[in-house]
């Protein structure tokens, strides 16, 4: 009997705490509902309706009596299989630039781990490509890669490369060791740009992880006579595996969703049309809101499925 009042008071305390929590969360939830959940749901509805950009002001948007999957059919059977081509390009672009960004990031982190004069300034400098506005980064590289006045093009041509339009050449055939290769030049260029733009992100996380590796691991290995390359291979790199898994997932998601970089570099020309660019094209060049929404839904579904598979089967074990 005597415990009851205390119990009741604790319950009401807990209820009060919950009420406060909902109160604190409410404004955020309202905003998230307005700008994320409502748009996502409505996007699905839009994808089922035949809506063109010029009809927007007049038609009844909530009328779903003539809902159909026509937009989806149109999207995936579009002329010349451009949807499947965009899907392929998106995967190549996403995987290649994510992996490359991670590799450059590890490399940079290994360099910065050990002290040298000016290391702090160097570390700050490494982050510049990540923090600067993508609009100016794209313009800088466009100008540096210009066929006639680009500094990179001109310096490479002094080394014997012929001047190329790096961002607008779909295929460039090279002969390496007697093999004729068709290099998708524009795609390779945007992949390199993307890796350059985002390696600092990977670098930061790898560096933080490297600095947390206990010293005695190295001392013990050194006593056993391990050489520097063995330390790197058997001690340092295994310690980075968990971080690398998370970073790869994050970079994959964000690159898959990326629109700005390619749009600003070459507008998706010359074999660089990724899905986000294709959605934009459907919306503004072909003025077809319904198909644009349908492609957006397909894209979100593919990404969701991939992330689910990754988390379910490939997620590296958590660090202890």
């Amino acid at each position: 009997m005597s415990a009851q009042p205390a119990n009741r008071r604790r319950l009401s305390l807990r209820a009060r705490e919950a009420r406060l929590a909902y109160g604190l969360l409410a404004p955020t939830l309202v905003v998230v509902f307005l700008i994320v959940i409502f748009p996502i749901v409505w996007n699905i509805i839009l994808s089922l309706q035949p809506i063109r950009l010029q009809d927007l002001p007049n038609i009844n948007l909530l009328d779903i009596s003539n809902a159909s999957l026509n937009n989806y059919m149109r999207a995936i059977t579009a002329r010349g299989g451009r949807f499947w081509e965009a899907l392929r390009v998106t995967f190549v672009y996403t995987i290649a630039s994510s992996v490359l960004a991670l590799l450059i990031g590890v490399w940079a982190a290994l360099i910065v781990r050990d002290p040298f004069p000016g290391r702090n300034i160097f570390r700050g400098l490494l982050l510049f490509p990540y923090i600067a506005p993508v609009v100016s980064l794209a313009f800088i590289w466009k100008l540096m890669l210009d066929k006639n006045i680009g500094v990179v093009t001109l310096l490479l041509s002094r080394l014997g490369m012929e001047p190329l339009s790096y961002l607008t050449t779909r295929a460039y055939s090279v002969n390496i060791l007697g093999l004729d290769l068709n290099v998708p030049l524009a795609l390779v260029t945007v992949i390199l740009f993307e890796a350059w733009h985002y390696f600092p992100f990977a670098f930061l996380f790898f560096l933080a992880r490297l600095q947390a590796i206990p010293r005695d691991l190295y001392e013990a290995a050194a006593v056993d006579g391990a050489s520097p390359s063995q330390l790197l291979w058997y001690i340092t790199l295994p310690q980075l595996r968990a971080v690398a898994g998370t970073l790869l997932l994050l970079r994959f998601i964000w690159t898959f969703n990326k629109f700005d970089d390619i749009f600003l570099l070459n507008g998706g020309a010359a074999g660089t049309e990724v899905i986000t660019i294709q959605i934009y094209q459907w919306l503004f060049a072909r003025r077809n809101v319904g198909v644009a929404a349908a492609v957006a839904v397909i894209m979100a579904l593919i990404l969701g499925a991939l992330v689910f598979i990754y988390l379910r089967w490939f997620q590296p074990e958590e660090e202890e």
Binding site: P27, I35, P39, S136, F259
Partner: protein, 318 residues
Amino acid sequence: MRERYTLSYWSRERVERALGSLIRAFSILFFLVITAFPFYWMLNLSFRPYSDVLLHPLRALPRAIDVASVFAPLTCLRGASEACTTAIRNSSFAAVLIRYGFLTYIRNSVIVSFITVALTLVLAVPAAYAVTRLQFRGRSAMSWGILLIYMFPAIVIGIPLFVFFVRIQQSLGIPLRGNPYTVTIIYLAGTLPVALYMLRSYFPSVPRELEEAALIDGASRLEVIWRITIPLAMPAIASVALYTWMIAWNEFLFALLFLVESQPSWTLPLGLQQLDGQEVPRTFLMAGSVIITLPIIFVFSLFERFLVEGLTAGAVKG
């Protein structure tokens, strides 16, 4: 096996060390070039007349007369004259700022980015506190839900909001598009998850005992948050503010979708991108790039440690 036969001077250890420092020196040089050179080249081109760039594309530094003509419009401050108009036309920075409207874009960008930061903090600080400190039903669902927002392509959110804005504008006459104030709400889709994630990983490090002591002394939860938790979490809140400011300052896609209709509302990134379509010398584009990039680099250099720690404390969108 082979090591046994080599002289001890050429031990594997020694060879690897020598090779290692060689690779290291080369790597430092490589990274210096790939990170600093593009920015140096942007500055270099922004100070030179386009005609000179066409003739001498590899000139590494602007000539003295080029620099002088870039700064020539400063004489206008003493009073406008005929010579002054010419000076503005010839100076890349003055032309971009005055003739191509970058002064307006700077104002818009400042307004938009500051409102976005303020809204983000007002929403995210209480929400992150609730998720980390308070017990309630649906707590873990809530904190996972926040992370899910990270995943959605901005363009998926963009299409319906675009349609919605067009419709509201049409039927209610409220000018939602081309309005720098309404676009800040959409920017929250990019900044809120970041802010919540960073704060969520910081709040647990604020000592619970301090809060509990204050509660026992009769303070209410809200007072505790205001007087204890927020002051103690200031480093994290500051880095969230800086980081969301950078996101808002750099934001391009939403600006393109929602502001492109009316030029007076353009932000800097949109203004610069649209400048490309007009017949302007490419060096003007570089001047515009310098104008957008310098504030970011400046702020970042001042608060680098803050930002780096805040970033790595919670993974952040990019």
